[in-house]
Amino acid sequence: MDNHVPTQDSIVTVHNLTFSRGEKKIFDDISLEFERGKVTAIMGPSGTGKTTLLKLIGGQLFPDHGSIMVSGRNIHHLKHDDLYALRKRMGMLFQSGALLTDMSVFENVAYPLREHTQLPESMIRTLVLMKLEAVGLRGARNLMPNELSGGMARRVALARAIALDPMMILYDEPFTGQDPISMGALVHLIKALNTTLGLTSIIVSHDVHETAAIADYIYVLSEGKVIGQGTPKEIFDSPSLWVQQFMNGAADGPVHFHYPAKNYMEDLLHSEKPIFSRQRPPSDRTSKRKRYS
């Protein structure tokens, strides 16, 4: 399925990317294109490495093979200063919001402006209020992050992400755990910001209908491969059983409901160790060693 034809106007190009964690291959030679000015969604079941892909695009992780070009430059070949200069033009909305907990809403949004510009305080105030107004939270500027609901925290994080007027925003699961009103507000906001500010948006999500409602193009990932790609309509009409299972939320299908295990009856009838054994199974010890190495 990795046959998407590169376009001239791509802001991010992922080329033959392979990435592994330990022995598990997260991405296996995938290629993706993210077009400038569009909303592109990356969808797939939990654990397919969608967030990892955003961290690779942001230069926080390094691929095993392949390249990621952002705005025409290989992000993993950039020097520290060049990488940080490029990141100033990228915003990222984390799943948790990632607001700094010792600062108020106002200070959180002002933080990148204070760090990267020499603007006078009056102008910073104006800019922060404009960004907060855009996400509907100008009135919450004096609240602390622990006083915000999950949806409000994400909107503040969105205001912070657009503080430096970036060229693109990476959204990590923006709709997860939101009530219908917050979700509706976020869906509207992401689309509106993309249109009015001329941004490029990359959304990682498994909320099918909300994402499909605003995406111009969708990639569906599973088990390290691109299993489907196209406009939302093409994805919904896809003949692929994998894509259909994901889009329709079927519990079983090509992507199995059960994690791989040995035969159920055999497993029930042969107990391996006492439940409260102090010793961990050997596989667990191995994984712990790897985790620390």
């Binding site: 926080q60 100033k88 990632a98 700094l100 907990t101 933080y111 060693r289 620390y292 190495s293």
Partner: protein
Amino acid sequence: MEFFQNLGASTRSSFTKLGRGSYFLVHLLAGISSVLVRPHLLLKQLHSVGVLSFLIISISGLFVGMVLGLQGFYILSRFGAEETLGVMVAASLVRELGPVVTALLFAGRAGSALTAEIGLMKATEQLSGMEMMAIDPIKRIISPRFLAGFLSMPLLAALFSCVGIIGGQLVGTGLLGVDDGAYWSQMQANLDFQGDIINGVIKSIVFGFVTSWIALFEGYDSIPTAEGVSRATTRTVVNSAFSILGLDFILTALMFGDN
């Protein structure tokens, strides 16, 4: 065979961690110059790491000094040398107990708090968020805390020793009848500025460096889960205690070996 495999794996992971810790140290030391440009970051941390430790250090110093006064008096009185109680209390505090006990208390109070704070910032993606805003978290978060810990330790150790000497005097002269003038004059006459006080200060500087490094690295290197942060906090206290006591032996052997 599995025993040797585990031994090899744990040795390898220890050295890997030491390498990561050293790299982290170089990075944070390089970030100190940016802290000097933003002194408000340092002042805020000096308050939370240093000033908020005043009470525990003062109270502990007072009791340690009082116990030294009691124990010292009972031993010295066997030899008819009660008048030298001031020297004994002050030398014990300035050379050993001041730097060592302060460092242990610092690791328990401020070190564990630093690890938990950095670990939770990692778990809640605040550090990743800063990186994606093109703000280096080592420069803005880690280096100010390191510098605050490094600067606070000698001052806290000095406070501990001073309060301890007063505690020793309260017990020695107030309770046990040692002459007040003898307590202070013997101390003045027999305590060497270079040999005792400066060496004690050097110890506390070394302990401040090591404890702050361990606390911050454990937080930064923690597994970003509740269990991971909890384990990292424990490791900070345990590793700091081992490092402080081990280094104390080495420094004492180097400083006071000829006496």
